[in-house]
Amino acid sequence: MSMLKLNRRSFVKLSGAAALVGLSTTAVNRVGFAADKEKEKGRVVVIGGGYGGAVAAKYIRMADPGIEVTLIEQNQHYYSCPLSNWVVAGFRDIEVQKWGYEGLKKHGVKVVIEPATEIDPATKTVTTKGGTKFKYDRLIVSPGVAFKPVEGYDAEAEEKMPHAWHAGPQTVLLNKQLTAMRDGDPFILVAPPDPFRCPPGPYERASLVAHYLKKNKPKSKVIILDPKDKFSKMPLFQAGWTKLYGFGTDKSLIDWIPGGEGGKVARVDAKTMTVYTDMAEYKSSCINIIPPQKAGAIAEMAKLTDESGWCPVQFDTFESKIHKDIHVIGDAAQATGLPKSGYAANSEAKVCAAAVVALLNGQKPGEPSYVNTCYSMLSPTYGISVAGVYKLVEGKIKEVGGGLSAADAPEFIRQQEATYNESWYQSIMADTFS
């Protein structure tokens, strides 16, 4: 390669980061005209390579290869939360949830595996843990969720009472605890208050654990302690539970204790494996705590969050209402009207990508269109879904079509939806990582 052909940006990056030399070499080899074009169009940095960030990076490159895109992600591999409840219940291998970043590199995305530690909106710079600095014209932050404190629930307690709300080792740990649980112990599931990642997720988990118990630990049941009095797809879940798990009878495999009936957890004690509500205490050898949530740590550090803990954004571009030239997508964004789901993150990423491409080309962003499609499993052969098409109407995200699976759908439809769930997963993961 010839140093003469390096443009200023490539040079700064190369000299700034020995670790990145290997990575940038590819770009340098293709330098010359391509790099000059990239210089003209601008640079995008994306933090977080999941359902939101990876899609934004790919779709920007697909739309305009003249834009340089760098994805900064802390983990070598990504584990999908959607479908990870199957792993918890023991009928799916965690390896099927695992993805990498080779596919994005084929789109010309520069991938940096290192945690981003600082965002400076004034100098438009992202710094990674190793001290490397990345300049951006536009930054997209897709950091997912972080947890709000629960009394008694610290890093050590997470290992005894897993949350399994970030997929990966936590998912495997919860499955191990479920498998090791004494027959007769309850599986205690502490659900979070709204808003949180994957609104039907805790209830799908309860269903699939009940499916496991029915076969393997018939003396046990699931107890959901919930601060809320209603939840996502509730009538469909409860009808399915009645059919599959005796819900509502004294032999029910699932007890749901809503906030109004003492479901709100006050504190936990990992040493004695006890959960305390205002009214009672629950002990078990298997306790799953899904804590209250807020935007991922980097968003909070960069002061992209407001008092709610989430990031206020413009709905047509997902640009932060707090910091110019920074966009926030996925669960961390306050996209009021859209659920915090993987599909919504995918959809937000595409709206954001189109807006960023337009803005870097000196054009006005177009009108957005958003979709959510979300499946939940009540057993391995019983699926339900919610779907929605959304538009921006007078500044608000409004659902213009969609709805839930029919309440009276026949069994073969539930079976088809269970199969579609797996295909949904394979397609959206290919859309994200290939």
Binding site: Y59, M62, A63, D64, P65, Y343, N346, S347, K350, V351, A353, A354, V357, A358, N361, Q363, K364, P365, G366, E367, P368, S369, Y370, V371, T373, S385, A387, G388, V389, Y390, K391, E399, V400, G401, G402, G403, S405, F412, I413, Q416, E417, T419, Y420, E422, S423, W424, Y425, Q426, S427, I428, M429, A430, D431, S434
Partner: protein
């Protein structure tokens, strides 16, 4: 006039590889662009309509009018579905036209060529052989010409489609209670075919590429 302008823009964007960019460049006052609308489908139907999930059909390269017909039937409820009926209600006819145009200009890719092909139900050659004979005796090949590779405004391509999807659809067609919209001659042919015959036909079309 207004609608025509939108369609022209969709056409231009479809012709250029970077459809998203060009569509974005179009007038923002006229609603979401073709690429904006169509890219939201990709979560299930795959990037550019090339599905990565064996039960989801690839829609890349499908004739625009065929997509429009299906969406209309999903929307008015005449075509049974699990989820498409709900989603189709979110789009105007003009938007469906843009989406249809977008996917019709994308290149078809056989399921077999997809990185996820190993996830699909494997094609059984004996079944496919039986299926081939049935497509002749039941006269499937009168419309689904060239081993299902041919397509036109009323006939979708079947060759190289995901087998799991084809098997699902065959079940739906056989389930007369669902009343899947279809040509009279196809309905008649279906009556004479057993569920096993239809599965064999699905294997045959999936085996072709």
């Amino acid at each position: 006039m207004h609608r025509k302008k939108i369609q022209t823009m969709g056409l231009i964007s479809g012709l250029v590889a970077g459809g998203l960019l060009c569509a974005t460049a179009a007038n923002a006052e006229s609603g979401p662009t073709a690429a904006m609308l169509a890219n939201t489908c990709a979560g299930c139907h795959g990037t550019d309509g090339i599905s990565g999930g064996p039960a989801m059909p690839t829609i890349a390269g499908m004739p625009a009018n065929h997509i429009k017909t299906l969406m209309k039937e999903f929307k008015d409820g005449s075509r049974p579905s699990t989820i498409m009926g709900r989603l189709a209600k979110g789009y105007s006819d003009e938007e469906v036209a843009l989406i249809a145009d977008f996917f019709s200009k994308k290149k078809w890719a056989d399921a077999e060529s997809h990185a996820n092909s190993k996830l699909a139900t494997a094609v059984d050659q004996a079944q496919a052989g039986k299926g081939k004979k049935l497509t002749a005796s039941a006269k499937c090949d009168k419309c689904h010409e060239d081993d299902g590779k041919a397509q036109d405004e009323n006939t979708p391509r079947l060759a190289g489609q995901w087998l799991d999807y084809l098997l699902f659809k065959m079940q739906d067609y056989k389930n007369t209670a669902l009343k899947v919209p279809q040509e009279k001659k196809m309905e008649k042919a279906m009556e004479k075919l057993s569920a096993e015959d239809l599965a064999a036909i699905a294997h045959f079309y999936a085996s072709k590429h």
